[in-house]
């Protein structure tokens, strides 16, 4: 499977306090790729780099097989984009904005645009500036979908929206993917939302990629273990130790959070004179939190 987006060793700096360093990202074609991270982690900056709105200091970005930003006009003809904040002209009506957008995309799907106007219950004569937050989000999704692009890049598209609007938007996206086989790159900090729709997920914090994996692997591979009698030094474990701390109440028990876990790995502990009393499933949100905590502890340790 080829990659819709391929980023290699990307380096970008914004001022003195923020940089994206050594970023490698591979978004498989046809996937719904969730891009998770807390606010300020660099998600929007990464998206702007992908779209050619910012220029990297070094590294390589390939989007739909073409280099960005060198081929930005060609690439953007195949990419639908929904930014975090409404970016459209507030003085144009819904209908005027649709017509404006249609003029720039030769493959514009008028029938789909009309169908989505009806489905999203948008008033064609209403000014964009007079639309509610949910209606603005719906219109931006409509414009991105009717372009019939091969890649949709969505930056927190449902942030701050009510559940009904969120469901409408996600449903439209899923329909589009199933009909077109397009790739969706969706950034969010709403973990549960991505958990429902994505088949790949990446986690970013402080301008660094913490992990990138298929959703199933991340969900089922992140576990909390209650370990008894573990030695202080653990050598070459077959899983990733994210956090390790004494269990409440002291004693010899410890709570571990591990990644890349697979059934049968408990035997590793027997080999080092320890035992696993319990293996607890974590949902994506817990796994996300533990990944962040582990990453920040390691970064903090490295800085000290």
């Amino acid at each position: 499977m080829s990659d819709a987006i391929q980023i290699e060793r990307l380096h970008y700096r914004a001022g003195k306090n923020f940089e994206i360093k050594d970023l490698d990202l591979h978004v498989p074609s046809g996937s719904i790729y969730g891009f998770l991270g807390p606010n300020g982690s660099g998600k929007t900056t990464t998206i702007r780099l992908i779209l050619g709105l910012l220029r990297p200091l070094s590294g390589r970005i390939m989007v739909l097989g073409d280099p960005m930003p060198e081929q930005h006009a060609r690439i953007l003809g195949r990419v639908g984009y929904v930014p975090e904040q409404p970016h459209l002209d507030a003085t144009l009506t819904v209908r005027e904005l649709i017509d404006f957008q249609a003029a720039f995309y030769p493959q514009w799907d008028r029938a789909q645009a009309e169908e989505l106007v009806q489905r999203f219950e948008l008033d064609g004569e209403r000014l964009f500036g007079r639309l509610s937050k949910g209606q603005k989000a719906k219109l931006m999704i409509l414009l991105a979908l009717a372009q019939r692009g091969d890649l949709l890049v969505l930056d927190e598209p449902t942030d701050g929206l009510d559940p009904v609007v969120r469901r409408d938007i996600l449903s439209a996206l899923l329909t589009y993917v199933s009909e077109r086989g397009a790739t969706i790159f969706i950034s969010s900090h709403l973990v549960h939302e991505l958990e429902r729709v994505c088949d790949w997920v990446a986690v970013m914090d402080d301008g660094r990629l913490i992990t990138e994996a298929p959703m199933e692997k991340l969900k089922h591979g992140t576990k909390r273990l209650v370990v008894m009698g573990a030695p202080a030094e653990i050598v070459n474990p077959p899983f990733r130790i994210l956090t390790r701390e004494s269990a409440n109440g002291g004693g010899a028990g410890e709570n571990w959070v591990v990644g890349d876990w697979e059934p049968g790995m408990t035997s590793y502990f027997e080999g080092v004179g320890a035992s696993v009393r319990e293996v607890i499933d974590l949902d994506l949100e817990d796994g996300f939190v533990e990944l962040l905590r582990s990453f920040r502890e390691r970064r903090g340790g490295a800085r000290r």
């Binding site: 953007l76 970016h87 507030a90 144009l92 005027e96 720039f104």
Partner: protein, 221 residues
């Protein structure tokens, strides 16, 4: 490209239609008003001088109108993109220079209305007036000069308006520094007239800005 231009032209018309309509009305009215006293048949040499004075004083309004139209149309051309932090424009599938050209072209097309109004208003004013012997009417030359002035003003302000707040800041800071140096020189009794020198260089010397100076005469000898 035609569809893109139509879309950009429509959006720009929507943002600047009040400016265009008011500018067109003013451009039509100024030549008519400048010749309002010339409709009488009993004019002699003295009346001709009076008429020339009236035409000359009304003529100062043409460069002012051209500058105002250029400024307002240039601001309107970029206002919505500035508000949206240029995200929409920069994610459209075309080279950026093409987008700038579309915006520039659309603004200039809209300026055609007040330019045409000057031509029609001037021609109408000349047709309905009886000019004293020895005076000639120049409606086409006046309209062409107005068109060039509007184009220069629009191009200049379009370039400034297209820039960032930093660009505007640099331009304002340069002007402020010029004024400050002039004030300090005046206080220190130094014989330095920077503002006049700047005016001479920018407006009176050969160059596109010289179009704004001189006599804007619909009727002349």
């Amino acid at each position: 490209m035609t569809a893109m231009f139509r879309a950009v032209l429509f959006s720009q018309w929507k943002w600047s239609r009040l400016v265009v309509v008011l500018g067109t009305v003013a451009a039509f009215a100024i030549p008519l008003l400048s010749l309002q006293g010339a409709a009488r048949v009993d004019r002699g040499a003295l009346q001709a001088q009076e008429l020339l004075r009236a035409v000359q004083s009304w003529g100062t309004l043409y460069p002012l109108l051209a500058t105002a139209l250029g400024l307002l149309m240039a601001i309107a051309a970029w206002a919505a993109d500035h508000r949206g932090r240029h995200i929409h424009a920069l994610t459209l599938p075309l080279e950026r220079w093409r987008y700038v050209l579309l915006r520039f072209g659309a603004g200039f097309v809209l300026l055609a209305a007040p330019i045409a109004a000057v031509l029609i208003g001037s021609s109408l004013a000349v047709l309905t007036a009886t000019l004293p012997t020895g005076l000639q009417a120049y409606p086409i030359a006046l309209a062409a000069r107005f068109a060039f002035a509007a184009f220069v003003a629009y191009a200049l302000f379009f370039a400034v308006s297209a820039g960032t707040a930093r660009t505007a800041g640099i331009i304002l800071a340069t002007i402020a520094a010029l004024v400050l140096v002039q004030v300090v020189a005046s206080i220190a009794n130094i014989d330095l007239d920077l503002l006049s020198a700047a005016q001479t260089v920018l407006l009176l010397g050969p160059g596109p800005l010289a179009i704004f100076t001189g006599r804007w005469m619909l009727v002349d000898v």
